[in-house]
Structures are given as C-alpha cells and as structure tokens.
C-alpha cells in the first residue's frame, strides 16, 4: 500500500449510513460502525454517545492488523472475522473488500449467528458503495486550494 488519499463524499456517506442503520436494526445490535484499516471512523449507527468511537476505531484497526500479522505467520492471508465475547456486550469485527472494517457491538438481545448472517449481507452492500465511490474521479478542491497561510493559521 502506497501513499494516497481517500475521499468520502456526502452521497457515499449517506449510503454507508443507511446500510449501517439497517444492519443495526436487522441484527438487533447496540452499535455498528465502519472504520478504514488505518483506524479512521467513517460512519456509525446506534447509541454511540456512551462510547469513545475514535478510540474504538483505532483499536479495532489495531486488532485487525495484529491478527492479520498472526494469520500471515501461519500462511493465511487474513482472519477476516473476529469475535470478542464479554460478560454483557460482545463485539463482532469483520474485514470487507480488503479495505474497511465493520464492527458490531451487541448484547443478549442478539446472537453471534444472527450478527454473522446480517453482517454478510451488509458487507456486500457496503463494498458496492465503496467500489462505486472509487470509480469517481478524485479531487473536490479543498486540498488543492490549501495555502501556506491556511496551514500556518492552524498554529495560531
């Protein structure tokens, strides 16, 4: 992976959000969120107020990276699904389209089987949105227009 720029536009964001909301309801989950493999939160649905989503996103990506490293050591490309079982809440983490990480947090109102089933369908929809976003030409202006004065203004 080299250096590049990932741009998420309003339209794709709304499309991601709509899939996440459907998944939240279909899987009877508490929270679902979508993260890129570098740990940046793209979108989330559910009661996120009680969670530090920035930290969750970064640690989920770290988790996938670490287990990916383990996978490589035993000759696997990746462990594409991780499941963490807690006393009250559980976490289902999956990689989709090799680029994004889908995290579902759920409790006893749901089950790992139901979550897996619903995640599979949602992952296909999310991947489709991602691919359609990537087909569009990049740009959008904000970066090209940045001036040295803009950058300097951040430190005042």
């Amino acid at each position: 992976m080299g250096r590049d720029l990932f741009i998420l536009r309003e339209r794709e964001y709304e499309a991601f959000l709509s899939v996440l909301r459907k998944l939240l309801s279909d899987a009877c989950a508490k929270i679902v969120f979508l993260v890129d493999k570098n740990g940046t939160l793209l979108a989330s649905a559910g009661d996120t107020a009680e969670f530090d989503t920035t930290s969750l996103a970064s640690l989920a990506a770290g988790n996938i990276a670490a287990t990916g490293g383990l996978a490589n050591l035993i000759g696997e490309k990746e462990f594409s699904i991780l499941f963490h079982e807690g006393e009250r809440d559980h976490m289902h983490i999956s990689v989709l389209a090799d680029r994004l990480i889908l995290v579902v947090i759920f409790d006893r109102r749901s089950s790992v089987g139901l979550v897996r089933l619903r995640v599979r369908r949602a992952s296909e929809d999310l991947a489709r949105i991602l691919f359609s976003a990537e087909e569009e030409p990049e740009g959008g202006g904000v970066i090209e227009e940045l001036t040295d004065a803009d950058i300097e203004s951040l430190f005042k």
Binding site: R3, L5, T54, L59, G69, E138
Partner: protein, 196 residues
C-alpha cells in the same frame, strides 16, 4: 493515507513517532496530551506492558482547528521501540502520512538510533512507501542529559535527507510542539502536492 470526509467536513492524517526503545516517543505524546486543550484532544491510549514499555502502540487523536471549513484531525501513534517488536512496527506504519523520528541523544544509544533509522527505511519500503519521500522530521531528544552526542554528529548519522530537525527534552516539553508542528506542516504540504 490521508482521509477527507466531505460529510463531516474533516481531514484526517496519521503521524507515527518512530525510534529506538526508551528514546521518548511515549513521553512526547504524554506531554502533548497534558498540554493540549481537552477539547482539542481525545483520550490517549497506551497498549503497554506492566513495566510501561510500549507493547503495541500509543494513540492520541488531536483536532487542530479548521482550514477552508474542514476540521483537521491528526492521529498520533507511537511504535514499540524494542528491536524484537518489528512485526508490530510494520503494522503501525500502514497508512502513515508523516513520521517523527525520535532519536536518543545519549552517546550509548548512537548505534541504536542508526539501527532504528535503517529499520524505519526497510519497513516503509515494505509498506510500499519511498523512504526518501515520506514526510519526516527528526527530533534529538534528551538534550538535557549529560553524555550526549553533538547535534552535528547525530545529524551526520541520521539526517541524510536533511529534513527539519529539533533538539528536545520531552520530559520537560522542550521541542515537543515544535516537532509536532513541523511534521503536521509537512504532511499537509505533501497532501496538497500529492492530490490527484
């Protein structure tokens, strides 16, 4: 990989603090955490051993205000410096936008600095980056201690790209924000140049 979210109007960048074990990478982040306005920073996460050696990474998210109506968010990471954690270092470099190389100025750590800088080059290459192009700032830390190598000597050994360099004492905060500011500037300038 920089990430621009047009919906939440955010620009996100990833900065990694690299360097040999015990050079002060975590101390840099701790000082930034202590001094930043709480509204401008998130929670600092340290995945460390019981003896407070970094096991996987430290993470500190910062928000630095707006440019052109976009919030700028920088995710600061440290790598574990100890030689045997190389696999973890490689993972943390994924998607990096800028690197701070934190060197330990003590004479006894000169070789460790050189080895770590070489390791950085190897690992950047392995992640598909050109080590000569990634935004890089070098910090010569622990300048407050006795028995340190001269800056000229460290420069000759480590700063072959002639990138911005700063003397620092991360425990007291000297040079910490100067280093951060320099790397952020380089990242934004590079992002501007590299936009397709």
């Amino acid at each position: 990989m920089s990430f621009i979210n047009y919906s939440s109007r955010e620009i996100n960048c990833k900065i990694v603090y690299y360097g040999p074990g015990l050079c002060g990478k975590t101390t840099n982040l701790q000082f930034i955490y202590k001094r930043m306005n709480p509204e401008a920073r998130g929670k600092m996460i340290s995945l460390a051993t019981e003896t407070e050696r970094t096991l996987f990474f430290d993470f500190l998210p910062l928000s630095l205000g707006e440019v052109r109506g976009f919030k700028t968010r920088f995710h600061l990471y440290t790598v574990p410096g100890q030689v045997f954690y190389d696999a973890s270092r490689r993972l943390i470099l994924r998607g990096v936008d800028g690197v701070v190389f934190c060197a330990d100025s003590q004479l006894t750590r000169v070789d460790a600095n050189v080895e770590s800088m070489e390791n950085l080059r190897v690992n950047l290459r392995e992640q598909g980056y050109s080590p000569e192009k990634v935004p890089l700032v070098i910090q010569y830390n622990k300048r407050d201690l006795t028995g340190t190598a001269s800056v000229a000597e460290l420069h000759a050994l480590l700063n072959t790209r002639n990138v911005p360099e700063f003397e620092a004492s991360a425990t007291t905060g000297i040079g910490v924000f100067e280093t951060l500011k320099a790397v952020i500037k380089m990242v934004l300038i590079e992002m501007k140049k590299g936009d397709r």
